[in-house]
Point group: C2
Amino acid sequence: MTTQTAADARRDTAAEYNAFLANCPSRQLLDRISDKWVALTLSALGSGPDCDGDPRPLRFSELRRILAGVSQKMLTQTLRNLEADGLLTRTVTATVPVTVTYELTDLGVSLHGAIRALKGWAEQHMDEVFSNRTSQAVACPAG
Amino acid sequence: MTTQTAADARRDTAAEYNAFLANCPSRQLLDRISDKWVALTLSALGSGPDCDGDPRPLRFSELRRILAGVSQKMLTQTLRNLEADGLLTRTVTATVPVTVTYELTDLGVSLHGAIRALKGWAEQHMDEVFSNRTSQAVACPAG
DNA sequence: CTGTATCCTATATGATACTG
DNA sequence: CAGTATCATATAGGATACAG
């Protein structure tokens, strides 16, 4: 059928421009860290809730608490993805209520390091970004 | 009305956990670079389509071509956001068909630098990530 | 050429209920 | 505790048509 012109066309085109930008590994990487909770999960496992400690394993419930409003669904999904990518390990201990801990792999720790670098930029420049945003808003009172 | 319990509750909770994780500037930064086309736009303006050149101004139509499948809507929206954040400048030249060029500001160039660092991680490790992903899939033939 | 406005759908994500 | 399954919905994002 040629009925789903829209969807089909979009999918075809997608294949094209993915290929075109395939030389940018950042494309795939961004697809991964763009997930709403991925970076936060990596941060939590990589340096705790204050984003300033050392890597350490955490239980599902701890992660859920640290990432506050995250739903079970999203947390599970995020953890499964990161596990599949080899960025963290999932360890089940058959205690009375089962205990599951998540811990960054070396690969996960290295990505966390890269993310920290980006965070460095943010710490230095986000003030400037926000002040730009505000002045833009003020600069358009006619709106 | 107290009808939109879901939406309202979510918004309230959101305020809470945003505050909780506010010590992570990466939170706001990620909100920005998580936009599907932001990183690609910064890459294009920062180092061209091959992600390996020097920063240079580009016209709307050039960006549209480089970011292949991007829609006008998304490209415009992305550019407006980046402009509002002071990451790039928009210059209109009143030629016959109007000419508009976009160029990274110093701030934008510096962010591009940070993103390049992340790209460095990707270049080194994405192979590993993908091989992990594949072996996971193969490891579950029962599915 | 460079947008703006509108509509429409896919997707992401949350709420809820249920399970080992 | 740590999920899984299902349903509901907000939002992002694309298609299309129009405009300066």
